[in-house]
Point group: C2
Chain length 160, copies 2
Amino acid sequence: MDQIAKLKAIPMLAGIPEEDLEALSALLTERRFSAGENIVTEGEDGEDMFVLTEGAVDVIKHTVFGDTFVVATLDDSMHSVFGEMAVIDRDKRSSTVRARTDCTALSIDRQSFDRFCTDHPLCGVKLLRLISVNLVRNIRKENDNLKQVYQALIEEIEAD
Amino acid sequence: MDQIAKLKAIPMLAGIPEEDLEALSALLTERRFSAGENIVTEGEDGEDMFVLTEGAVDVIKHTVFGDTFVVATLDDSMHSVFGEMAVIDRDKRSSTVRARTDCTALSIDRQSFDRFCTDHPLCGVKLLRLISVNLVRNIRKENDNLKQVYQALIEEIEAD
């Protein structure tokens, strides 16, 4: 399957004209990762965003004690996007994303993404909306996590 | 000061052509709130995003126990944006925003925002990028909060 056909299969790119998909395709790099490999690493710099096209990945965070825990598992059935915070700001990676199986992802770096959005603004608006939806979903999930941990803390204090 | 002049004073709108600012201005509503008034309410539906132009507001969350705590205070010196999650998805408000002083804000609803982004896509890309930067900042803040509360929980458990 060529890259344009792969892009057409990604639901978040539905409705993007073929001409724009071709321009986007030229900016994407197909990358393969082996099971167990870190695709992005918490705390490191990074400027690539990924769309998972084959396989599954774990999203992992470190606690202040150095333990790790899996926050989410993403697979290709969702064509999940990860690393998108890096194309928005220039801060460190907030999580590690580790290949759970051998996997393939399409990546785009911040500069290419910005250029694409400026050169194809109607598509840029669509892509940024989709990234924003992803970000909002993550904020709502973090909010819920925070409430749960806070509740556990209060219960622990009251049990003393 | 007329509304266009007010918009020009907002750093996040710097570089947006006057013609687009005029179109945006036509979609904005100036709203006044009294000190103590809830501008948005956690858990309720809402579809307006706000830019604070005068005064200060508290961002307030409820714990699972019904207590409230102030997560942030925003003032007009920052031309702070709030309620932006409502123009991205259709879920409930994640926080209460309460006027700390009498204040004035410009608001835009989801539908008008979407229309503006589609009709003025180059500006749409800029605005969505700025909203995304705000969202990413909030995720990073929530991450830090979660780590702190989690650390406190572990310390509390270990102290038993």
